[in-house]
């Protein structure tokens, strides 16, 4: 059955810790992780709650395949109501923490209320204690992890924590585990900080048993690992180049948003690409990239471990950044680089290290800096206000603004509110490259029609991971569709969104879907949990999860108007300037009615009674 059947409920206001049985009816209907955690959230939290009030809850959830030998089975999801968007927040992380937590014997961890003082949660199998975190408050993620391992005298402890950004209320603060793996988006770290919860330290020695049919499971796992190994993307491209393999590819198709989406191709893309990371630097003759790294159980190993040039201006006086560390991944390289026009690879890695060290989302941060640079270029913001000359392309401005933001200083406090609030404050809300208040990632919605629709309809705001149509529109997985064509995309987006919700809920990584479809997930789920998990059932569960999230957002006050893109992406004035997509805008108005129809929603974007009945909602 592969669930542990147990949940921890911690009330931070009273300090009480309760053990509950997992609601197995919900587990069957929503699987685990994203699906099951969100089910608990929507049942227990009023959608209109102030995200930073003690009435909001925050949930750490694993899936039935977390902590098993299924490839990439190390993932967990942090679920809450987002302070950045006001929508459902649901951020997924790899590394080792999720598997360790599951091996301690728990499916899920629910925090309620707000602690009167800083605390951390200590879990050692059945021993669960809230402990004072006065000595950790004000420390970075990295210091917190090191301090806890030392004081617990257990180097095998895994830590999921926030840095200063989460404490200081940066609205896109992340939750970081294993130094450089993050539940990065939507400000889940901000909610954690608002509850005076610094960290969760966990040691799990029980392991994950209860596999329904161990023999069939091991056979299915082995066959699925083979599919990953023999696939060009998961077997060769990702291990060798990481997600950064995309930088040049996406630039060539004219879909690399540049300088706050003013441009759609970046002349400096090659300087910040995977190829650049693997080429010896001119300055010191060493390569940026040291090695690749897998998360728990992952047979792809797309993670990057790099070392910076010790004489680069950002770290020349900071020896603590000279060791090997995580990055750069494609999204961070794009957001910190192309989105601002910065082509200094070392500066991007410095900014990326700080994002990991103090816990912020590099996508929302980098995109917000892009908006700041545009406002500076327009003369709306000045050097005096920002604290530095901030033209597009300035690596010095990027490094400075990263420090200001993570430490909560000066203009960094405004950047920490995200691009929607910042651009509105200075009279140019149209310059926020976001949907539902969450900044776009590294693909241009004008040059790739489906991903634009996916951004506009994503339940957590601008995001590529809710329906990664890039797989089909650019990479031809599972079938090639034309990125410039909007016909047929509503159905494509829906199919990707539903399948992704199922994968996210299983405890596996969405990157497996470069090679796997639901037909690869189904045998692993069936062997671990029960024969009812067929391809059709998984697709239906994915759709059920999508609609559940949608209804939470609708109750929170979102309407069809919020399924939108900024005018730069949809009007002629903002059309792509160069490359294969020259002259293109996103055809959102054409696609949206068809998308609603495919979803079984009314014109206001509400699931109809028939749809809800079909999905058992």
């Amino acid at each position: 059955m592969s669930w542990t059947g147990k949940i921890l409920r911690v009330n931070l206001t009273t300090g009480s810790i309760k053990v509950e049985p997992t609601n197995m009816d919900w587990a069957r209907a929503y699987i685990g992780s994203r699906g099951l955690g969100t089910k608990y959230l929507v049942e227990e939290v009023n959608a209109k709650v102030d995200p930073l009030s003690s009435d909001n809850k925050i949930i750490w959830a694993t899936g039935p395949l977390t902590g098993t030998m299924a490839s990439t089975g190390g993932r967990y999801t942090v679920i809450t109501k987002s302070p950045l968007t006001g929508a459902v927040a649901c951020s997924n992380s790899g590394g080792y923490w999720g598997a360790e937590f599951k091996m301690a014997g728990w499916d899920m961890l629910i925090f309620e209320g707000k602690s009167p003082k800083p605390v951390y949660l200590y879990i050692n199998d059945d021993v669960v204690e809230l402990r004072d975190a006065a000595h950790l408050w004000g420390k970075s993620v990295w210091e917190t992890e090191e301090t806890l391992k030392k004081s617990l005298q257990d180097p095998l402890t895994r830590v999921s924590s926030i840095g200063k950004a989460g404490e200081n209320g940066v609205l896109f603060a992340s939750v970081v585990n294993d130094l450089h793996r993050a539940a990065g988006r939507s400000g889940v770290g901000t909610v954690m900080g608002s509850k005076n919860l610094k960290a969760i330290a966990v040691r799990g020695t029980k392991g994950v048993g209860n596999i329904k049919n161990p023999k069939a499971f091991m056979a299915a796992v082995k066959a699925s690992k083979k599919v990953l190994a023999e696939n060009g993307v998961t077997g060769q491209g990702l291990p060798a180049y990481g997600t950064q393999v995309l930088m040049n590819v996406i630039n060539e198709v004219g879909a690399l948003p540049t300088r706050n989406h003013r441009d759609n191709q970046f002349e400096g893309a090659k300087d910040i690409s995977a190829e650049a990371m693997a080429t010896p630097r001119k300055t010191d003759g060493k390569k940026h990239l040291v090695t690749n790294q897998a998360c728990f159980g992952c047979t792809i190993a797309c993670g990057r471990i790099s070392k910076m040039d010790e004489n680069h201006f950002t770290i020349v006086n900071k020896p603590q950044y000279r060791g090997a560390s995580g990055g750069l991944e494609y999204e961070a390289a794009w957001a910190l680089g192309a989105a601002n026009g910065v082509n200094d690879l070392e500066a991007l890695q410095y900014a990326n290290l700080l994002c990991n060290e103090e816990g912020i989302d590099p996508i929302s941060f980098g995109t917000t800096v892009g908006a700041v640079m545009e406002l500076y270029d327009m003369g709306v913001l000045t050097k005096e206000q920002i604290g530095i000359e901030a033209p597009f392309g300035s690596a010095h401005a990027l490094a400075f603004l990263t420090e200001e933001t993570i430490y909560g200083r000066g203009f960094g406090k405004e950047i920490g509110q995200g691009s929607k609030r910042l651009t509105a404050k200075y009279g140019h809300p149209e310059l926020s490259m976001s949907s539902k208040g969450q900044e776009f990632p590294a693909y241009d919605g004008r040059a790739i029609q489906g991903i634009g629709l996916a951004y506009a309809t994503s339940n957590r705001g601008g995001c590529h991971l809710r329906g990664y149509t890039i797989a089909s529109e650019i990479l031809g997985i599972p079938v090639k569709t034309d990125p410039l064509e909007h016909e047929g995309k509503p159905d494509l987006v829906k199919a990707f969104q539903d399948a992704t919700a199922a994968f996210d809920s299983s405890g596996l990584c969405i990157f497996t879907t470069f090679a796997w479809g639901l037909q690869d997930l189904a045998p692993q789920m069936a062997a671990a949990c029960g024969d009812e998990y067929t391809v059709d059932e998984l697709a239906k569960i994915g759709e059920r999860i999508w609609n559940m999230e949608r209804e939470f957002n609708n109750r929170a006050g979102f309407t069809a108007k919020d399924d939108s893109l900024p005018p730069r992406l949809t009007t002629a004035a903002g059309a792509c300037k160069t490359g294969p997509a020259k002259g293109k805008v996103n055809m959102l108005a054409e696609m949206m009615p068809k998308y609603y129809a495919a979803r079984g929603w009314d014109a206001e974007g509400r699931p109809t009674a028939a749809t809800k009945a079909r999905l058992g909602l």
């Binding site: 098993t68 598997a99 994950v208 040291v290 790294q293 047979t299 190993a301 070392k307 090997a324």
Partner: protein
């Protein structure tokens, strides 16, 4: 032919498939904490190194054991712990220079790698070839072949 576990740290990605395979083989659960092979992650250098018992011919653990609970499996060359005989005195854990035999609180006995009776689950699970089970006399064969390939493909000097 005697075979040994051969480890190439350069190929290790830190995925812990080996640790899960080990615990599943021996305990029927996926529990890295119970694994007899451990992967060490040196994050300041980016190095990941799997480490386990190398089955010494003159095994310190075997010689130190006061009750002769550790014996060599003649078929596989593995030093194996007989749990029925082991008294949990832990002297072997002190004697082993490499730290690869360890006490298990739950059973009151020690555990170490036994090569899974000749088909090590860790090597089978490793996705990158960082852990292989190969001819004990020729653990250097792969490296020799790689260098020979380099030499053989040099352009001729003449």
């Amino acid at each position: 032919m005697q075979k040994v576990l051969h480890i190439n740290p350069d190929k290790c990605t830190g995925c812990l498939q080996c640790e899960m395979a080990c615990s599943f083989e021996n305990y029927g659960t996926f529990a890295t904490a119970k694994s007899r092979i451990k992967v060490f992650d040196f994050h300041h250098t980016g190095k990941k190194v799997p480490y386990t018992c190398t089955q010494c011919d003159e095994a310190w653990c075997l010689h130190a054991c006061p009750v002769e609970a550790i014996t060599m499996n003649k078929a596989t060359g593995a030093m194996e712990v007989n749990e029925a005989t082991c008294v949990g005195c832990k002297v072997c854990t002190i004697a082993c220079p490499f730290g690869t035999i360890n006490y298990v609180e739950e059973t009151g006995k020690v555990q170490k790698c036994d090569l899974c009776g000749g088909e090590p689950a860790c090597a089978d699970a490793c996705p990158t070839g960082a852990i292989t089970f190969i001819d004990a006399n020729w653990t250097g064969l792969g490296k020799m072949a790689a260098w020979a390939d380099k030499l053989g493909n040099q352009p001729s000097a003449a």
